[in-house]
């Protein structure tokens, strides 16, 4: 009996450990971009604008600028912010899940690493949504599907111009949000 209990506890610990170790890779994804920083950002921005479903760009943040202002250096990071009222509205209307507004707007991070390559970091919206009930699961599933469209690149098309935020605004992280979308 004692051995069975011990085996059960060890099993739980092993599964919890495996879950703990895999969680970051499940919740967030990272992929190498075939383009440079600015072209990657530009292509994602234009994809967002062309996706429909109410998506609009709401900002482009540069956290590296804040580090520079503080006298330091980090490799380039640009955070594209986008929002769709089609998806934000049902969540913001429901009191039980309104706290998920902290996940808004939807962010895609484009950054360079020490290997010199440009990477794209995204949240796994589909998996995350499933943790918060059917309403959020359904909405975030749609967000995840659109997210795939944001990152579908066609190298045969010429590089579009990067879309710079429309108006200056005070903001942390050396960035800003123009308030588009949400």
């Amino acid at each position: 009996m004692l051995k069975a209990l011990a085996g059960f506890v060890v099993g739980i610990v092993v599964i919890a450990l495996a879950g703990w170790m895999m969680m970051p890779h499940l919740m967030f994804t990272e992929r190498v971009s075939p383009f440079g920083m600015e072209e990657t950002v530009a292509r994602i921005q234009h994809n967002i604008q062309n996706t429909g479903n109410g998506w609009e760009l709401s900002g482009l943040r540069n956290p590296a600028k804040a580090v520079q202002s503080d006298g330091g250096n980090v490799l380039p990071v640009l955070m594209i912010e986008a929002c769709s009222t089609d998806y934000s509205k049902p969540i913001l209307k429901e009191d039980t899940v309104r706290f998920l507004s902290i996940l808004m707007p939807c962010k895609i991070s484009v950054y360079k690493k020490n290997d010199g390559k440009v990477y794209i970091g995204t949240m796994n919206a589909g998996l995350m949504g499933k943790m918060f009930g059917p309403l959020v699961g359904e909405v975030m599933g749609k967000v995840a599907a659109d997210q795939q469209k944001f990152l579908a690149f066609d190298p045969s098309t010429p590089a579009p111009p990067m879309i710079l935020p429309a108006a200056p605004a005070a903001g942390g992280g050396g960035g800003q949000g123009s308030g588009g979308g949400c």
Binding site: E38, L60, N62, G71, G72, P158, P161, L164, P165, A169
Partner: protein
């Protein structure tokens, strides 16, 4: 201090970029922002000879020389004047007058354009008089007003009347008030040197990667020595000039300066512009003493300049001349921009690629640079190294240096297998930028350079290396141990290195692991025996 928002910085960088486009030439506008408080014993505004209007640069120079009698003679002995350098090691005749690069390619036949960055006036052809003292340009290095600007196409002169530049751009460059500039001369600032060195290769940040307009007034993050709110060094603080001769050379750089020791007053130092000239060969404190064990093989710059082009101005990384000459449907030249708004294509020049925050490549370098010159025979099936940094892990002189590797394609003679010089700029019919005819441009370019052209040409892939030595980051941003000792690491492409943590010897590892395993077995056996023996003893 309020944080500069991203948009503000974007607007600022766009404004700078626009300015840079307008000035995308050597001799771009000079800002006097780095003007330091003067300790001069002379107020030039009180000199009678300067209190009059001047019609030309040489007129100002004659006034300067009436007091500074030896200045022109000094300048005329320097590379800034001769554009020549004889490398004592390789015996190659170098200098702007002789070398070919893979940016604008070469000076001969394009003098009026290129000499916007000569410290002189009137160099427009092969007949320039290098002995004429009044042709030395004092103002380009000593202007403090920020209004003195030499434009390409004027053979080293500033505009003497307001001109539209670039042509058809709608931007007007005002003619400087030469008298005002002359009455306000002072020590050279970052902006003075930067007017040419920040704009080398035909535009802001194009050539070097570690020198661009962001270095006029850099923040501490960009350069700890030149930071406007820090040490506020000018270029001359390190490139300590004597008799107008500026030390420091890209033709014969000082790769290792360990035997010189720290620069001291009264002691002649071979090159005061090296890091060791101030910091010595073992600069790290006792707390970080292990780092001093690296300094015999690793240049300071390798760790302390983790990336270049960090100031928000991307540097050009490649230039493909072979695609130049495309015209739009109206037969006119055109430009295309990349996603960041930088030139991606120009009918006059071909395709470009820009990048910022670039991670350097690393090479062994012993200070000797070998050039592919006009007469050097090349193998067009290979990538031609316009210059080659020599060095090896075994020669006892080399250190690992960070470099910018610039790639391109440029014309060569398919019969003689030598590089060709195009006549790019000129008001005549044969210049490439007028007629987009390579045959004519190469024929005239080579004739002016005193070379031969068979009439047959193609484009060959080339690369050029530039040592990275400016944009020194704060010490907290130096490379971490892991960035080289981990895998993958920064030095993976550098041959002849054994880096603990990254590299392994399979037999050494086997011996080590075997020893560890045997030790463990010994401990277990010994412990087990003691437990068994103890139990036996208890039973008895």
């Amino acid at each position: 201090m309020p944080i500069l928002t991203f948009v503000q910085s974007l607007i600022l960088s766009l404004a700078l970029a626009a300015g840079a486009q307008a000035n995308s030439t050597p001799g771009a506008p000079v800002q006097s922002a780095a003007k330091a408080s003067s300790h001069s014993t002379a107020d030039h505004s009180k000199f009678d000879i300067l209190n009059k209007p001047f019609a030309s640069g040489p007129e100002v120079t004659r006034a300067c020389l009436s007091c500074h009698t030896e200045a022109a003679k000094q300048v005329q002995k320097t590379k800034h004047w001769t554009w020549e350098f004889m490398n004592p090691t390789t015996q190659q005749r170098l200098g702007k007058k002789h070398v070919i690069n893979n940016f604008c390619t070469a000076v001969p036949s394009n003098y009026e354009f290129c000499t916007a960055c000569h410290v002189g006036y009137d160099w427009k052809d092969n007949n320039f008089d290098f002995t004429a003292q009044e042709k030395v340009d004092c103002l380009v290095c000593h202007d403090t007003t920020g209004t003195y600007r030499k434009l390409p196409g004027l053979a080293g002169h500033p505009p003497y009347k307001d001109v539209e530049f670039p042509p058809q751009s709608g931007r007007i460059v005002k003619a400087p008030d030469l008298g005002d500039v002359a009455r306000k001369v002072g020590k050279s600032s970052r902006a003075n040197c930067g007017a040419c060195h920040f704009f080398g290769g035909g535009g802001d940040a194009v050539k070097h990667g570690d020198l661009d307009s962001s270095m006029r007034n850099p923040g501490k993050y960009l350069d700890v020595h030149m930071a406007k709110d820090g040490l506020n060094f000018t270029c001359g603080t390190c490139h300590a000039t004597a008799g107008h001769d500026v030390p420091g050379s890209r033709y014969a750089p000082t790769a290792s300066d360990d035997d010189q020791g720290v620069h001291m007053r009264g002691k002649k130092h071979a090159n005061p512009a090296t890091c060791q000239a101030c910091h010595g060969p073992r600069p790290h404190t006792a707390k970080h003493a292990k780092l001093n064990d690296h300094t015999d093989k690793i240049a300071c710059q390798t760790c302390h300049i983790p990336e270049y082009a960090r100031g928000g101005v991307p540097t050009k990384m490649s230039w493909d001349w072979s695609t130049a000459g495309k015209l739009d449907k109206n037969g006119k030249p055109f430009k295309l921009k990349d996603s960041g708004g930088h030139d991606a294509y120009d009918s006059k020049k071909g395709d470009f690629k820009y990048e910022d925050n670039v991670i350097p490549e690393y090479v062994w370098f012993n200070g000797t640079v070998n050039y592919t010159l006009r007469e050097t025979k090349l193998d067009p099936s290979q990538v031609i190294r316009i210059n080659h940094f020599e060095g090896s892990p075994d020669d006892g002189k080399s250190k690992i240096w960070p470099i910018k590797r610039f790639t391109g394609k440029q014309p060569y003679d398919t019969v003689t297998n030598t590089l060709l010089i195009p006549h790019t700029y000129g008001k005549d019919d044969s210049s490439y930028w007028s007629n987009f005819d390579w045959d004519k441009a190469l024929t005239v370019g080579m004739r002016e350079a005193g070379g031969t052209f068979s009439g047959k040409f193609d484009f060959v892939s080339t690369e050029m290396s530039w040592p990275i030595t400016h944009m020194v980051a704060p010490k907290a941003d130096a490379l971490t141990c892991q960035q080289c000792h981990g895998a993958p690491g920064r030095l993976d492409q550098v041959p002849g290195l054994y880096i603990p943590g990254r590299d392994a010897n399979v037999w050494l590892d086997r011996i080590g692991w075997s020893a560890a395993l045997l030790t463990l077995l010994g401990v277990i056996a010994h412990g087990g025996l003691r437990i068994v023996m103890a139990r036996k003893g208890e039973r008895q």
